[in-house]
Point group: C2
Chain length 404, copies 2
């Protein structure tokens, strides 16, 4: 019932925002940006966030998770800054992608239009509430947000601040929050074919699996990242050390960090002790200084653990990746032209690197400006999803009476 | 079990075809083209088709359906000709879509690659078996075909001819047919997340609904077409008559024909009698010379029936389409600039026409060369789907040791 109600409102709001001008949408975004700098709003958000933090503490939630949940005045100002960056991005709507005049005189124009109503299901970070809403708004979509129950008070406050801010610029129902975080309502959202054009889950593997298995609306899977580095027999081992260290340790919790290191047998005896010494116990090397199981090769640790496998040749490395990878990002470290080419040609992942860290698979790093997530499926969007990936196309056909 | 077996083979074949050159893929397609001109193969196919036709007759299947099922030497030669047309199309794989060098020197290249393993579930026309297979093959994908049980003997013969033909050019498992047409196996196919990257249903509304509701793999909905024509108060009524006649009667069974005619009240008294007289009983005009119900407005007749609604103004026409359309194709007939612009801007369908028949929404008519279907969803592909719509992207990132 709740979803039906939100869905109906979203449908009405969608009709308005999909034909809004860039000026109108940017005015609404400016209003959000300033609302997040307003001291009264900040106080309201921090008070709500305090409730969530207190609950988290009472429920014995880990300090890492509490930190993810925590908002501060500085963090809210950074969210406002992120809104500013979205305002500065070009509006993808209305772009003419292609077009021609057919032999019979029909003029066909392929244009970029919004998708419609987008649902976002996400976990504890409350900043996603604003990030997702502004990206959808900028790209002319209405959004229905469903955050985690741990952040519900923060999310309600943030949604209220945003909705109040945009009300004088656009129908405020372009941004709506699901306030009932029960599983039933969540399931209703996943099956709301009448109202949702797309559902994007943002979060851990469990959330994504639940959504993919229960959704009846179109879904884009994001952020499932079992990534690999392969140190080839012709690698520069200093570069290899730098890249493997960066790809594993710079931010182990994110999807574009690596989980498995494949090493060619001819360099393994030199490289692995060097790596272990460099890390000096900071990272557990399963299969080298710790036991390893078949299960490990499938695991996205999101932690300072790495699985090591020594391979006979590049073909074994490629076959391993084919079998275990989630097809997110993989890198080869090599000085050999043929192996670099082979790796990039044969590996079927969204981003395939030569001599660079997998950590670059990111909307900002790719120059997309901002991202709603990193798609690990092949349909619609693959890799970092920016504003353009939140759009679809519409053909305009102009004639003077043509019939078949 | 059957799907697991086919899926495993498809996965192996997919690794081969996704890196095949255009020359290799075209050689395989040439082999199919010639195999369909070979008299022994034609005989084999016609014998199998005879079995299906006999069964159809025994089961009291309508003459129209029997005709859909029927193959003749000429029809098989036409299928071969369609293969030739696909050979002539440019290979979409390897296209460089975009690219740049990042400030840190990383070179990013966005390239076009195959999707992987595609499932096609379709109904009685056996020519789809070949059409779908060659489009998937050309675009570097492996395909698992599941046709209707009425055409099973024809499909087995066609698949065998194709598989034998390509065997010396490429792993023949790039084309596989599900020979067990039970519902259980069909359901298995819809849920084969481990093996299928995409599932495309081709057929009637019932089939599409079943697939969308049961699939756990990504689906592209095709061919659901409740299309509209709106005769504006400023229409040229001769052009309107031509277009409405063409869009309704030229081929009423297809998805891009219209089901509802909206007429502005100021021209209704002139236009509707004119139209009824022109059709002279050939088409039933529900709401004009036959009763109409709310249900009619939702119905895709695929028949010589049309629903008529007189509207107060263009806004009512647009609101009607927003409510009832499947967002496939709509057309306005008008001489008024403002109304033409408004209609094209506000209507949220894949193809929005001014002064032309909706019958042009078609891969061939749009210049895509051939189509696997017409997508009526907003994700991945919208409107006619050609070879490019059977691809996804892969980022290649080349560096010299970059880390974050």
């Amino acid at each position: 019932m709740l979803i039906t109600e939100l869905g109906k409102k979203a449908k009405i709001a969608e009709r308005e925002i999909r034909i809004a001008t860039s000026i109108q949408k940017n005015s609404a975004l400016e209003a959000i940006k300033y609302a997040l700098l307003d001291s009264k709003n900040i106080e309201q958000i921090l008070t709500a966030n305090k409730l969530d933090l207190d609950n988290a503490e009472q429920n014995g939630i880990s300090e890492v998770m509490q930190d993810r949940l925590r908002l501060t005045e500085d963090r809210i100002k950074n969210i406002s800054k992120a809104v500013e960056e979205v305002i500065a991005l070009p509006d993808p709507i209305g772009e003419i992608i292609d077009g021609n005049v057919r032999p019979n005189g029909l003029r066909i124009t392929k244009t970029r239009v919004p998708i419609g109503v987008i649902g976002i299901i996400f976990e504890s970070r409350p900043n996603v509430t604003v990030d997702a809403a502004v990206l959808c708004l900028k790209s002319g979509n209405a959004v229905i947000l469903r955050g985690g129950k741990e952040a519900i008070n923060s999310n309600i406050a943030l949604a209220e601040v945003m909705r109040n801010a945009i009300a004088e610029h656009i129908n405020q129902d372009v941004i709506q929050l699901v306030t009932d975080t029960s599983r039933e309502v969540s399931r209703e959202l996943m099956q709301a074919r009448e109202y949702l054009d797309l559902l994007i889950p943002r979060g851990g593997a469990g959330l994504i699996k639940t959504v993919c298995e229960n959704a009846k609306v179109p879904v884009i899977e994001t952020g499932s990242g079992n990534c690999h580095a392969y140190v080839d027999e012709f690698a520069d081992l200093n570069i290899a050390l730098n890249i493997v260290d960066n790809a594993k340790t710079q931010r182990p919790s994110v999807c574009n960090s690596i989980e498995t290191l494949l090493v060619h047998k001819t360099v393994a005896d030199e490289f692995l002790p060097k790596l272990a010494e460099f890390w000096n116990g900071k990272v557990q090397l399963r299969g080298y200084n710790a036991p390893v199981s078949e299960e490990d090769f499938y695991t996205e640790y999101n932690d300072l653990i790495i699985t090591i496998k020594i391979v006979e040749n590049i073909d074994e490395a490629i076959a391993h990746i084919e079998k275990y990878s989630t097809k997110h990002s993989e890198t080869i470290i090599t000085k050999d032209y043929k192996n670099a080419e082979k790796f990039q040609k044969q590996i079927d992942s969204s981003a395939v690197y030569v001599n660079a860290s997998t950590r670059f698979t990111d909307g900002g790093e790719f120059g997309l400006g901002a991202e709603i997530g990193i798609s690990t499926q092949k349909l619609h969007a693959r890799g970092p999803m920016g504003l353009r990936e939140l759009t679809t196309i519409k053909y305009l056909i102009n004639g003077d009476g043509q019939v078949r």
